[in-house]
Subunit: 265 residues, 3 copies
């Protein structure tokens, strides 16, 4: 029998022991689980960024229990949930939209429970660290074979919070999009599929916050000179902007949520 | 039989290969060990912060070998030790106070050995990387079943270095404490138990370094408005100060060791 | 039977999900593999730093598949390769010099294949994330028992790109070297073996970029006072410069590639 897998995404960062303590909690409950850290570098409290990362990564992860914690409303009235997906995956996290893109990628929710008062939680439940006290122990119990029904109270999947997402539009041949993610290399991901824009043409202009920069449409970084701007379909099939051997986010002076336009030259 | 567990805390950070090399050393000696990274983000050389993190996390970790390296005196005359605890845990690290809070949390030391010249060390022992050459290999050997007695020379547990800790005091109804830890969210942990201060009242004033800021006493971040100061008992049951959706450490302009006062409004 | 080991070094950082997604890919293909993260903090695009870290760490890692991705030319015409070593290790990564120091440390390459069109790759292969689509799946297949011959097209090991390395020289008793690596503590590693310079004498002068600072030759940080400069042989047996309880890189105002001179006082 293969080991059960728990994947773990959060905005906890790796400076503190938050991630390590959750690993400890999982290992105490389900020593045979293999825990894969998807990332803990989601921008703090940025539920949308976390949701996009989780949804985009899911197809590359083994089927398992997918634990996700970006939870600015911890201890407040947002619900804590565990979900079963059509493809056999299970998701555990706050009901704040964080799980929504992953749920879609996994074929939709077939069963949902509220785990706010789960019998699997560690008592006493702290008011500020539900990752340790609710989400990790529930994920570990599910990995160890528990059923979703035993993890909490059934709720209507249709009542789960959906994420409000912007979508780029093409207006008079100009793509008007928004920055949804910036990676550690400074590459800028937009709210558009890579296929949404005609990449066959060689030259374009990227404008953001009053700045206009010439760009090339290409396939990979080396398709433009060092320091030049590239518009491309990234590895998650999203439209993105990069600077070869440089940082697009610095060059354009933008951040998550900002509008960005791409026009033919 | 379940796999042996090694947990690992350090101030090595994750920029370099120090942590990965220690994992490699452990895997060569004890391939069946499961290594849990508690954190490697302890502020560099801050033995007290490392000790508090390790002591606070220990109850959430499986019983195992707990490797800890915050070691500004590496290669000098501080001792390297391995300890057996009353509850079956074993601790490995420098004898500079780093292990003291964990030892207390684990019921006290029942056996101690000096591993500075351990037969388990990797030769030649470098002067600057005892994590790789002494601590990791000793931890791995213990995880693989070796006895403490074989790891080094017996020493008196009473001679282990204790950590000097400040303790908050309440003077004329004002709590006078000190910052002992700041997490990656900017939350400020004090040298006081959460129960040390009457949290029933709604309003207070936090003062530090000449600055006075109004605060609310609450249970979780959402109990105050965005950007407002919260005084609360944190998940480790310590008294702490946070800013909802913000950073208390930035707001108050303080850092580890600074005095901080909390008074009723 | 012991679990196969995959070690993983990159410049991906831990902010994003790049590393986690590669872990997911490996776990889907070879669930029994144990993945050891050597480091993901190699300076972005710094092939030479990555090569030095991998080569220096290799002797401390279990024999396994060693995956390395520092790949500024991804999607361009650099080759992707898998290599078998004289000592049984296998290396997977771009053919840009990143693997060269490790190959030397492992006794030299005995077989090489071009995996740019590997049957093990995930289709469609993205143009910008070969870690996920080529390198990780090939590494996982090798860990699962596949032969190198099945992973790609045979190539001549002698045609692999070698890394151009500087070497410190001693001119009129003065060591003239270059910074090849700076660690997270601010310690500065030079392109010289520790044995290249006579460390028996007590005093020296370190000069870089017009700055001249007195230094002591010693064995470990505590051999000099707090804030003082130390010249020493580091744990990888390279000549290095540190500041006790401080940062040599800040004190000297240098970075990778800069010239640094060490002279007797």
């Amino acid at each position: 029998m293969s080991h059960p897998v728990v994947t773990f995404l959060s905005d906890y960062g790796l400076r503190d022991d938050f991630v390590g303590v959750c690993h400890g909690v999982i290992a105490r409950i389900c020593p045979e689980a293999r825990v894969i850290d998807l990332t803990h570098g989601v921008p703090q409290g940025d539920v949308r960024a976390g949701a996009l990362v989780l949804g985009g990564a899911l197809p590359y992860l083994p089927v398992g229990v997918h634990l996700a914690v970006v939870d600015p409303g911890v201890g407040g009235d947002r619900r804590a949930v565990a979900l079963s997906m059509a493809d056999g995956r299970r998701l555990v996290g706050p009901d704040n939209g964080l799980l929504s893109a992953a749920a879609e990628a996994a074929g939709g929710v077939v069963e949902a429970v509220d785990i706010g008062h789960s019998p699997f939680a560690l008592e006493p439940i702290s008011a500020t660290f539900h990752g340790r006290d609710i989400f990790a122990p529930v994920a570990a119990r599910l990995a160890a074979g528990a059923s979703l029904a035993d993890a909490g109270e059934p709720i209507d999947p249709d009542g789960l919070l959906a994420l409000e997402l912007t979508r780029a539009e093409v207006v008079d041949g100009v793509l008007v999009g928004h920055v949804v993610y910036v990676d550690g290399f400074g590459n800028v991901q937009l709210d558009a599929d890579g296929a949404a824009f005609h990449l066959g043409q060689p030259l374009g202009v990227v404008s953001a916050r009053g700045l206009r920069v010439g760009a090339r449409f290409g396939r990979t970084f080396a398709d433009v000179g060092a320091g030049e701007l590239l518009v491309y379909e990234d590895a998650y099939r999203r439209l993105a902007v990069a600077v070869n051997q440089g940082s697009a986010v610095q060059r354009l002076g933008i951040s998550i949520g900002h509008e960005l336009r791409i026009a033919p030259a």
